[in-house]
Amino acid sequence: MQRITIEGIKNDAWFRRNYVAVRHGDEEKVDLNDVNAVFDDIEEQYVSEKVEGAGRGPLIMNAFEMITLSQGLNLSALFDRRQDYVKRQTRFVSRYPARKIVAAIQEVAVTMALKVQSRNYKIRIEGGSSNKMGPFAVVIEVFEVAPALFMVDVRKAAGETLEYHKFYKTLCSKLDHVIWKPTEGGARPSLTRTATC
């Protein structure tokens, strides 16, 4: 007579009576339906689809669209009962071609063992609790602000802000070559910039 296996126990009527299996995903605070909803919602309301068809180029942001990104215009923060100062949105500029920016970001996410999905110039990155980082989701979008000048907007979609900040710091250090940092100078900005900036 052999000792019963785990499988055997699980299949036994005694075990199955009133049994509800433990679902390991429940601890994760990230509900991907919410992430998806945010993702789709952003696409619809964030920047209107203009002339560009799919595959033609990133959406172009005008001055007012950029202005709406300000934290000072995000009144939802009034309803946030947490006391810590958090920057949930972060962005940088790049002169790399838009497609290369997207590819570089995807590569970073893969090396960090994160799940990546992208559509045109929008990238969704998710991390589960299996990583060293807790569960979180981030949406990154590339916009054109001027000819050959792109703004990369990174925003937290779900998860802990601390994880988001850790991710953003790592992302920026790995994308250092992609981020455009205009030359520092003691002189006034208009004197240190070239016409191609």
Binding site: S48, N62, F64, L69, G72, S76, M151, P189, S190, R193
Partner: protein, 213 residues
């Protein structure tokens, strides 16, 4: 004796009857009462005087009372209708009303026009947009050359300034926003729909019978 709130309502400056505020806005009476809970929390955070001053507003928005921001200043000024330098409860409710999901696009577009009209001239001038754009770039720690900023402004005005007079008037703004609806994203706060659950107002503080709402 522990049931009564520490801030007696009648002594809060600018406190208005929730029934009146509800009748003038998209909020129900219970929602106005919930907003009062939020108002109390913000207005007592630096000076407990029942009014929101600039520091308290900055604290609520940025979790940093010393953070200066051009856009937060604009919002503050628009809440402070009577230009007292502080926001009272009536101001608070009436201003937040514009951000309610069920309020008309028209009202939101008007508010956003005034928001961008920094000097209140009735036009959004190019130099005002430049100032706002530079403020945004600085806030985001993004640096762009003056030429690039001018390019962005050129493109924006090309689309928005139909009569090419170098400034955007109300009608041009209305047209521009209808073609760029994402610009109104900041003008709606979905949180306002759930305000009674986020900021529950204790039943025994309520002055109004719930059935009346």
């Amino acid at each position: 004796m522990g049931c009564v709130g520490s801030t007696s309502r009648k002594h809060v400056p600018g406190y208005e009857d929730p029934v009146i505020l509800a009748s003038e806005t998209a909020f129900s009476v219970s929602e106005v009462e919930a907003l009062f809970e939020l108002f109390k929390s913000i207005s007592s955070s630096v000076i407990d005087d029942g009014l929101i001053n600039k520091e308290e507003f900055q604290l609520a928005l940025f979790k940093n009372k010393r953070k200066e921001n051009l856009f937060a200043n604009r919002i503050f000024d628009m809440f402070d209708v009577k230009q007292k330098g502080v926001i009272d409860f009536g101001d608070f409710v009436r201003a937040l009303n514009v951000f309610h999901p069920s309020v008309s696009q028209e009202e939101k577009i008007d508010f956003s026009f005034k928001l961008h009209d920094l000097h209140g001239t009735g036009f959004i001038e190019r130099k005002e947009v430049k100032q706002m754009l530079i403020a945004l770039l600085s806030e985001s720690e993004m640096r762009l050359s003056d030429e690039t900023v001018e390019l962005i402004l050129d493109k924006t005005f090309q689309e928005a300034d139909v009569d090419k007079d170098g400034k955007i008037d109300k009608l041009e703004w209305h047209n521009f926003v209808s073609h760029n609806p994402s610009l109104l994203k900041i003008m709606t706060l979905p949180y306002l729909r759930d305000i009674t659950t986020t900021f529950p107002s204790f039943v025994f503080n309520s002055e109004v019978d719930d059935i009346a709402t």
